[in-house]
Every structure is written in structure tokens, then in C-alpha cells.
């Protein structure tokens, strides 16, 4: 019972943080070498989440991907892959021992993990895993930034603003550049996106973890405890702020 309460409290707090540095460092240059040596080509990818049914956000495909852990074991990322299931190593992660050791050391490897690349102008499209795609609330989305051009960023908007603003004034966007070599948790409860405006590619490893896992729980709790930056308004705070505006 106590563990459930701790998990709930952590999740509630986590939902209020747009970008949470997890205080874990890794050798991104070594991971880049492993990625560059892969015999697999990055495949064009269009998320079923962000494009809903068939919506084209971009005129051309600017998002490439390789699956590291997938349900069917295929290196080609499947937009229809379920949130949960028996995820197994693909041949790609088998050729990236250091990357695999990093993932496993922080609780990864049990759910989806992918290498992702945005070329110039690339973005994912605004989406919320929890609010519109059925992601279980115990999944947390973590990112290992490998190459992050200065003109790239991750962005988060509260679902209340995204779905409720009249957009006549700029809405609050929580933006952050992720430092290569440091592990981050990206808020998947609210609407989020990533943008790359550089000529250079933006390369990251995105993977999911189970927040009920003790190791994951410890990493998150320690990071939340030391987090001092701004928080996203709760629904109640948001409604109250409307009354005051």
C-alpha cells in the first residue's frame, strides 16, 4: 500500500514537470560510434500518435528511426506497437553493447526503445501519450540525447492550454535543449513535441521505463526531490488562473 502511494505521489509530481534531468551521465560519443557502425539504415517514420489517422504534418518525412527493443524484434519501428508486451532485443541493440548497458542500468530494456533522428525542419507533431493515445500512467518516457544541435529543442504545453486556449495570445511553452550525455525524462502526460532547426541532425535514444520498478522509482524520486525549476499548473490551478485573468 505504501509503495502504491509513493508511486502515485511520484507520478503526480512528474506530471507537473516538463523536462526532468535525471542526474545520470553517459558517454554519448561512444553511443554515437555504435549507432554509426550499425549496418541498418534509418527508416522513415511517421508516428500514429501525432498524425492521428492520416494527417500529414510535413510535406516530407523528416523523422527517421531504428527500433532497439520491440515486440516483434524487428529493427523497423512500428507506429502501431502496443505500449506493453514482451519487448525483445532487436539485432540493432545487439550490436550496441554500451548503449544497451546504459539502458539496462537505468531500468530500460523492458519496453520500447528506439534511436530517433530529426533532420532539419523535423518534428514529431504535438501529442499526448496519456491523454489521447492510451499510454498507461506508469510508463515514463526517457531520452538519451546523443547529438543535440543548439537549434534543437524539446517542448511541452499543458493539455489545458493545448486544447482550451483561443490562441489569440502566445501560450506558455516549456522548452528545453537537452545536453548530450545526460539523461532526461520528457513529460508524456501533457502535449509535447521536439523541433530541429539545424542543418545538423538531432539524434536521441528514446525509451520507456516502468515507474513501478524500484530502480526507476529511486531515480525519479531523487530527481524530483532536487528539481527546482518551474512546474506546469495542475487542472485546479489552471481553472483558478482563468478566473484571475
Amino acid at each position: 500500500m505504501r509503495l502504491i502511494l509513493i508511486v502515485e505521489n511520484t507520478l503526480n509530481k512528474l506530471n507537473e514537470i516538463a523536462h526532468l534531468p535525471l542526474g545520470i551521465e553517459f558517454d554519448h560519443t561512444l553511443i554515437l560510434q555504435e549507432i554509426e557502425n550499425l549496418p541498418y539504415k534509418l527508416e522513415k517514420y511517421r508516428s500514429a500518435l501525432s498524425n492521428d489517422k492520416i494527417m500529414d504534418i510535413h510535406d516530407e518525412e523528416l523523422w527517421d528511426s531504428i527500433a532497439l527493443y520491440s515486440i516483434d524484434g524487428n529493427v523497423r519501428s512500428n507506429p502501431a506497437e502496443l505500449w506493453t508486451g514482451d519487448f525483445v532485443k532487436t539485432n540493432a541493440i545487439k550490436l550496441c553493447p554500451y548503449l544497451d548497458s546504459v539502458l539496462q542500468s537505468v531500468g530500460g530494456g523492458k519496453l520500447l526503445a528506439r534511436i530517433e533522428v530529426f533532420s532539419k525542419g523535423g518534428s514529431a507533431g504535438w501529442h499526448s501519450h496519456v491523454k489521447e493515445a492510451g499510454q498507461p500512467d506508469w510508463i515514463s518516457v526517457w531520452n538519451l540525447p546523443i547529438i543535440m544541435p543548439k537549434e534543437s529543442k524539446y517542448s511541452v504545453i499543458s493539455y489545458m492550454d493545448y486544447r482550451g486556449s483561443d490562441y489569440l495570445k502566445p501560450i506558455k511553452v516549456y522548452e528545453q535543449w537537452y545536453e548530450p550525455g545526460k539523461l532526461y525524462c520528457l513529460n508524456s502526460y501533457h502535449y509535447h513535441n521536439a523541433f530541429n532547426y539545424s542543418e545538423e541532425p538531432m539524434i536521441m535514444v528514446r525509451f520507456y521505463v516502468d515507474t513501478r520498478d524500484t530502480l526507476v522509482q529511486t531515480i525519479l524520486q531523487n530527481s524530483i526531490d532536487t528539481y527546482k525549476d518551474e512546474l506546469i499548473l495542475t487542472y485546479e490551478e489552471y481553472i483558478s488562473s482563468l478566473g484571475n485573468s
Partner: protein, 238 residues
């Protein structure tokens, strides 16, 4: 079918399309609604749950429903293939006994094969941005027709293009919002293809409207919409 597709492409680019050739007596509809013994009931649409607003501020009753009930069903036609499956299997509800003029008007505009509802949006509230084609899986031939009955001063209908709503970097840009107020007495087709929302920023005025679905594959509807598109002189969604 090609001509329907052509019309779909044209109407998808129009945020708010008045059907100006058709007029109705909004006062008479309001009188019928207000003298009906059934009060409008609070409604919690599935899409409202994630949109961060006061859920008790949207009231409605069904004029046509799939099960014939006057209380609106949350899932009436939402989901892949669902509206196509139940299209044409809607029934007049018990309100037909009390609202003869209202039914006469909506029937003459092609209502009856899918949902038709009386709806109120209370002051200080909004509905939430959504999209019928991509989020609810409605066919592109499905038109949302609004019959405004009472329209508060600070009420507005808004549309944002799909690509901007889903793809724009809101940290450096604001989207183009196509806003309009609707005049009671003239039907308006509210764009269902792109993202849309309604806002009642009025302090005390209630927006009362009839909203129903009609399909361009029906000749009556096709002709009405074709005529409206040909007469349209407003802005187009870029």
C-alpha cells in the same frame, strides 16, 4: 463521386460557411425549446474529458438519436467506421411532439440520418479543440450544420488548420485562427475537417443552437452546400 470529392475539397478550406439562401425563424425555435417540458441536460462528451474545462457547462438534448432517447449518448458515431455503421439508423426522439417547426427546418436541411441536438454552452466556458475527421473518424462528406438560436456578444466559433494545430512551434509562432460569430436565422456549416472550438466569453449570455450532421452524399445536402460554396466570399484556410 468525383464531384462530391471536389466539393469536399472546397468546403474543407472554408472555416465557416453560411447557407445564406436558407432562412429560419430563430425566435420561433427558441420558443418551442423553452416551452418544451424537458430541460436541457448536462453533457460530458468523451472529447471533453481531456480538454481542461468545466464539464458541467454544456447542456443538450437529442432531436435525432441512434437509440431514440432524448438524452445524448456520448459515443454516438465516434470511432473508426462507427458513424458509417449507424448512419441512416437514427430516430426522431420524443421531442418531435413538442418542436414541430424545429423539425420542419432541420429536416428540410437534410437532418435525420445522424445526430441532431439542441445545445447550450453556458457563460465562461469552451468546448475544447477537436477534429471530426482525424480524431472521431467521421467521413469527410459529413457536414456539421449549426442553426444558431441565441448568440451572446462574446461568443465565438474558431478554426485552426490541422497542420498548424498539430505541427506549429508555439514557442515562436501563434497559429492563424479563423474566428466568427454566427447570426441567428442563418444556418452555418462549421468546419469539421480542421480543428475547431467554441468559446463563450460572455458573462451571462447562453449560446443556444441546433447542431446536426448531414452528408454530402445526400443530393439535398449536396445542392445546398454547393450553392453555399459558390456564393461564399470569405477567407479560405491556407
Amino acid at each position: 463521386m468525383d464531384k462530391i470529392k471536389t466539393l469536399v475539397d472546397r468546403v474543407n478550406k472554408i472555416p465557416h460557411l453560411p447557407v445564406s439562401s436558407f432562412k429560419y425563424d430563430a425566435k420561433k425555435i427558441e420558443e418551442e425549446i423553452r416551452s418544451c417540458p424537458f430541460p436541457l441536460m448536462p453533457y460530458y462528451a468523451t472529447m471533453q474529458e481531456n480538454h481542461g474545462h468545466n464539464k458541467s457547462s454544456w447542456n443538450n438534448l437529442s432531436l435525432y438519436s441512434h437509440n431514440g432517447e432524448i438524452f445524448c449518448d456520448r459515443l454516438e458515431g465516434a470511432g473508426p467506421g462507427e458513424l458509417e455503421r449507424i448512419w441512416g439508423h437514427f430516430q426522431k426522439t420524443g421531442l418531435s411532439e413538442y418542436l414541430p417547426y424545429t423539425y420542419e427546418i432541420i429536416d428540410s436541411l437534410g437532418a435525420g440520418k445522424a445526430l441532431a441536438r439542441i445545445e447550450e454552452i453556458l457563460p465562461g466556458t469552451f468546448m475544447g479543440w477537436h477534429n471530426h475527421v482525424f480524431e472521431l473518424f467521421h467521413p469527410e462528406t459529413m457536414m456539421i450544420i449549426q442553426l444558431p438560436i441565441t448568440m451572446p456578444n462574446k461568443f465565438k466559433y474558431s478554426v485552426i488548420a490541422n497542420q498548424e494545430y498539430r505541427g506549429m512551434d508555439f514557442g515562436i509562432n501563434t497559429p492563424k485562427v479563423y474566428e466568427a460569430t454566427y447570426a441567428p436565422g442563418i444556418p452555418v456549416i462549421f468546419n469539421a475537417y480542421h480543428y475547431h472550438n467554441v468559446f463563450n466569453f460572455d458573462e451571462d449570455g447562453i449560446r443556444l443552437t441546433i447542431r446536426f450532421f448531414a452528408d454530402l452524399r445526400d443530393k439535398l445536402v449536396y445542392d445546398l452546400v454547393q450553392d453555399a460554396v459558390d456564393s461564399y466570399s470569405g477567407e479560405y484556410i491556407e
